[in-house]
């Protein structure tokens, strides 16, 4: 699915240069559920941004489905991204001015999908995460768990091959967190590749493989028996 070879990411401000990722090598195969763990500032989010094509690496290679994408421009990345990748964020990132339904629909607006099919798929996704009864509500009228379920619906509605989750349970209590993890597991079982960044060891245990990151480098990989 994706292969990172000697990936480097540095941030430069006027005075200092910070290395966020230092020669990272990761290979994720289709259908895997990978959890990335590590302390604050270890480069988890940088890694996820690059994997999600929200940012370009400073050096190294990024092969996505065998295609070298690290030097691609924004337009091309956007195209690959919308066809292949879904995102789930810690802070949900729902648009406050749009209803639940509209938030989910947003993910399909940028694909060429006829309105009728679009509506059907939005309903389907909302039902899958058990939030269909709230489709007319605005995000701030929902609880955190409900909001994250909407975000998951939005992430999967376009049927991406890979799902990137950045601390999806970070803002949730344990009951809601477990619920979200069960949903991710179900999605993985249906064949979606998932890469998840998390602080929570129990939630990392849902994954098939855990990668530990420290100071921008991979320090350990544990395969779990599926």
């Amino acid at each position: 699915m994706l292969k990172l070879v000697d990936l480097v990411k540095t941030y430069r401000t006027e005075e200092v240069e910070t290395t966020a990722l230092n020669s990272v090598n990761i290979h994720v195969r289709p259908g895997e559920f990978v959890a990335i763990m590590g302390p604050s500032g270890c480069g988890k989010s940088s890694l996820l941004n690059i994997v999600g094509m929200l940012d370009n690496p400073t050096g190294g290679q990024y092969l996505f489905n065998g295609e070298e994408v690290s030097k691609y421009g924004e337009r091309k990345l956007a195209d690959i991204r919308k066809k292949n990748i879904g995102f789930i964020f810690q802070s949900f990132n729902l648009i406050d001015e749009l209803t639940v339904f509209e938030n989910v629909e947003l993910a399909l607006l940028y694909h060429d999908i006829p309105a009728r099919e679009r509506k059907a798929r939005v309903r389907e996704a909302l039902e899958k995460v058990n939030i269909a009864h709230r489709e007319g509500h605005l995000p701030q009228q929902l609880s955190g768990g409900q909001q994250q379920r909407v975000a998951i619906a939005r992430a999967v509605v376009a049927k991406p091959k890979m799902l990137l989750a950045d601390e999806p349970t970070g803002n949730l209590d344990s009951a809601n967190g477990d619920e979200v993890m069960r949903m991710l597991t179900d999605l993985n079982a249906e064949g979606t590749t998932i890469v998840m960044v998390t602080h929570s060891m129990p939630h990392a245990q849902y994954a098939t493989r855990i990668i530990n990151l420290f100071d921008g480098q991979v320090v350990a990989e544990n395969m779990r028996a599926a």
């Binding site: 999600g52 370009n56 066809k83 947003l106 376009a158």
Partner: protein, 811 residues
């Protein structure tokens, strides 16, 4: 504490350079425009305030009431009226005539025209201009004395003293300089005064008109005794002309009447009797423009301040948490807005100082440098900046100080949505004003063009005027001059006439048809040359024009002067004159006759009918005109050119004039330019309006630019999400542009409505008007939209093209 405020205010200005620059530039442009207008207003409103007795000085006006025409107020009076007035009305302390004559002076051995103002000796008791040389009280006590203004004195006598020197008239007579006075300032109705002499000086203009009640060519001013009941005086004055003027009762029979009335000196400029745009219209228009521009500028200011306010929320919360009472926070923000507007005021003052001369040229304004004293300009700037800072800063200050610290410090959301609605409203308001102003300006210009270029009834192109045939030295030279001019290969035809279309003067005569009882008419009457209609290309509708070969067409010179002589003459009528005289068609009028009533009528037979001619500006409907063949009344010749090399031809024509009439200085004009001058005040008004409308649009766009940059920033998260979900650059740009198009679209609709209503009302005041042009509306609206797009597109594109990770900051 104030130091802390200042530090924060200045750091905020420096940190948000773009925002500060937009705010200051927008405010400075608005302030500079308003200051310019304030300066103009001060000038307009201070007219004629130079005289000690100014409150008691009045001008005698008359209103001509001619049946079939709207009443026409006029300022000109006849010479004998003044003496009659002084005798009949004891409450008038002094009555002073002011007339103007164009005389020929010999200067450095060359004949030159010089305008001499003829005044009664008591002139200086009313108009006490300061004297630089000579004694004001006696300067004009005797004839053949002249008082020069300072600039005229230095023109004629260089730098030496003028007092006691002489100027030589064209006929060799010498006038002695008895005084030098200051130049009237630009805010004077007497601006441009050059040379004064007493009415006791025997100049031809005075000699001719001393007993002439029919020639209205001078102004009469009077000093009213203190304590006079002016309304009662006005009442008694009204019909005075009818009582004293010989032949006034005959005139009344032919539907002509004139009423007298007094107008205070201070009112002359604001309510002129004979200008098409009054000072008052100008003053009102300018005040409105200033208000609009200031409003647009302060809207920017409010919008940007409230929009940025969210960014200051944490600071406000902290201050309040640390115990700052609300009024101190309000004061802090008011102080910041004052700092901003004062900076803008400084920029505006500097800008105005530098650019005013350019503005003056562009707007065609005459304003003395004294009005641009830095103290006054800076003072007005300071005052407006203060007002703007307090008014514009008030709302943002109250809004920002209202934040609840707990919510914000907890990291909660700031409710900027309420302010958003206000901002949207204000943007709509701004653009409505700017678009309406643009449409209005364009329509004014279109109407002016239309009025100046419409079918005037004659062909104004390629016609040269040579003036001065009424001068004594030109008498008897007309035939030679015409023959010589006609012989030139560049000339198609030559005809003489008493006045040209566009000249202010008019000759009216009373007519009657004896067979139609009660039909008494006063109509414009032109005494023209034989070639007049051909040279001016006035279309003939019926019959024929005057022909020199038929001796009977010529009106004998005695006809108008000697009522004892019975006369027959042939006349040509304009289309409207036919209708007024009661004939249904031009054909029907041919061969019919009417009369100039008198002891013995002058019988006039219609030989031809021509198209109506627009002799005055388009504000006046075409007037009915009677044409008589009397070339000996000529003051000018019309010369129609073949076109081609016009400059060379004109040079030859001027040479011919100098050879035939060397004593009379040449005065050459082009007919089309003469017509254009009629509309000069509209062109000036249009330019002023266009200039300020442009500024208003500019300021509004600056505001939109600032707001767009802010919104793009504020919507970063949303845009980031959209990008993560696959939105392309184009989709984001479209989204942002559409957001900003909505208020502009609404503004376009509103502006169309307002402009449509106001302009159709304004256009209704014209006899000949352009229809409201839908294209103009479309262009103004479309233009505003495109400008708004261009303004916003840059931001939108920048945000849209940024890496999503920059847009989507992780909390």
């Amino acid at each position: 504490m104030i130091r802390n405020w200042l530090v924060i205010a200045i750091r905020n200005l420096m940190r948000h350079r773009l925002y500060s620059a937009i705010n200051i530039i927008g405010l400075a442009v608005g302030l500079a425009a308003a200051m310019t207008i304030a300066l103009l207003l001060r000038h307009e409103l201070s007219y004629d305030n130079q005289f000690a007795a100014g409150d008691r000085i009045w001008r005698l006006n008359r209103t001509e009431i001619i049946s079939g025409r709207p009443p026409e107020p006029l300022a000109s009076q006849s010479f004998p009226l003044a003496s009659a007035l002084a005798q009949a009305f004891p409450e008038l302390e002094t009555v002073v005539r002011i007339g103007r004559a164009r005389e020929i002076l010999r200067i450095d051995g060359e004949s030159q025209y010089q305008t001499i103002t003829l005044v009664d000796p008591a002139y200086f008791t009313l108009f006490d201009w300061p004297f630089l040389e000579g004694d004001r009280a006696t300067a004009l006590a005797q004839p053949d004395r002249v008082v020069l203004t300072q600039s005229t004195a230095s023109r004629l006598f260089r730098h030496s003293s003028a007092l006691g020197r002489t100027v030589e008239m064209g006929d060799g007579r010498l006038l002695t300089v008895s005084g030098v006075m200051v130049d009237p300032p630009s805010n004077s109705s007497f601006y441009g005064l050059e040379m004064l002499t007493a009415t006791t000086t025997q100049l031809p203009r005075i000699v001719q008109s001393q007993e002439d009640w029919g020639s209205n060519w001078l102004h009469i001013f009077t000093l009213v005794k203190p304590g006079t009941d002016v309304p009662a005086l006005q009442q008694r004055l009204r019909d005075f002309l009818v009582q004293v003027r010989p032949g006034a009762s005959d005139e009344a029979e032919s539907g002509f009447r004139a009423e007298l009335w007094l107008q205070p000196l201070h009112d002359l400029h604001l309510n002129p009797v004979d200008a098409s745009i009054s000072g008052r219209t100008m003053v009102l228009g300018l005040t409105a423009l200033a208000a609009i521009i200031l409003a647009v500028a302060s809207i920017n200011f409010i919008n940007l301040s409230t929009a940025r306010g969210a960014l200051r929320a944490r600071e406000v919360a902290l201050r309040k948490a640390l115990g700052a009472p609300r009024h101190l926070v309000v004061m802090q923000f008011l102080g910041e807005s004052l700092l901003l507007t004062l900076l803008a005021g400084l920029v505006a003052t500097a800008w105005l100082e530098i650019s005013f001369p350019v503005l003056q040229t562009y707007f065609g304004l005459v304003i003395d440098p004294a009005f641009r004293q830095i103290g006054w300009v800076a003072g007005s700037g300071l005052l407006m900046a203060l007002a703007l800072g307090l008014l514009g800063g008030f709302y943002p200050a109250v809004m920002l100080s209202g934040y609840r610290p707990a919510t914000i410090l907890r990291g909660g959301k700031i409710a900027a949505a309420g302010g958003g609605r206000l901002r949207a409203f204000l943007v709509v308001l701004q653009f409505t004003v700017a678009i309406a102003l643009a449409i209005g300006t364009a329509t004014v210009i279109a109407q002016t063009r239309h009025a100046a270029s419409r079918d005037l009834g004659f062909d104004r192109e390629n016609v040269v005027l040579l003036r001065g045939l009424a001068q004594k030295d030109a008498k008897g030279k007309l035939d030679v001059l015409k023959a010589r001019l006609n012989a030139d290969p560049g000339v198609i035809g030559v005809a003489a006439g008493p006045r040209a279309p566009g000249d202010p003067s008019e000759n009216t005569v009373g007519y009657t048809r004896r067979e139609v009882p009660g039909l008494n008419l006063t109509m414009r009457t032109e005494q023209v040359d034989f070639g007049y209609f051909k040279v001016l290309d006035i279309p003939v509708i019926a019959g024929r024009v005057f022909e020199e070969e038929r001796g009977t067409d010529l009106l004998p010179p005695e006809a108008m002067g000697d009522p004892a002589q019975r006369l027959d003459a042939n006349v040509i009528l304009s289309r409207s004159a036919v209708r007024q005289l009661g004939w249904l068609t031009p054909q029907e009028a041919l061969g019919r006759s009417f009369a100039i009533p008198g002891d013995i009528d002058v019988r006039l037979t219609v030989i031809g009918v021509v198209e109506d001619v627009q002799y005055k500006s388009a504000r006046d409907a075409t007037v009915a005109t009677v044409y008589l063949a009397a070339p000996y009344r000529a003051d000018l010749v019309f010369i129609r050119l073949r076109g081609g090399d016009v400059p060379a031809t004109v040079q030859r024509l001027e040479e011919i004039w100098r050879e035939v009439i060397p004593q009379v200085p040449l005065r050459r004009e082009f007919l089309d330019q003469q017509i254009d001058r009629l509309y000069a005040d509209y062109v000036q008004m249009a330019r002023i309006a266009a200039g300020f409308a442009g500024l208003a649009i500019l300021i509004a766009c600056l505001g939109l630019f600032g707001l767009a940059s802010f919104t793009a920033e504020r919507r970063t998260k949303e845009i980031g999400i959209r990008k993560v979900l696959g939105a392309g650059v184009l989709a984001i740009v479209r989204l942002l542009i559409w957001q900003f198009s909505r208020p502009v679209l609404l503004a376009i609709l509103l502006a169309w409505g307002i402009a449509g209503i106001v302009l159709s009302h304004w256009l209704a005041g014209f006899a000949y008007r352009v229809p409201l042009d839908p294209l103009l509306f479309l262009i103004a609206g479309g233009g505003a939209l495109v400008i708004a797009w261009v303004t916003v597109a840059g931001h939108a594109a920048r945000v849209a093209m940024a890496k999503p990770v920059q847009a989507l900051r992780y909390e």
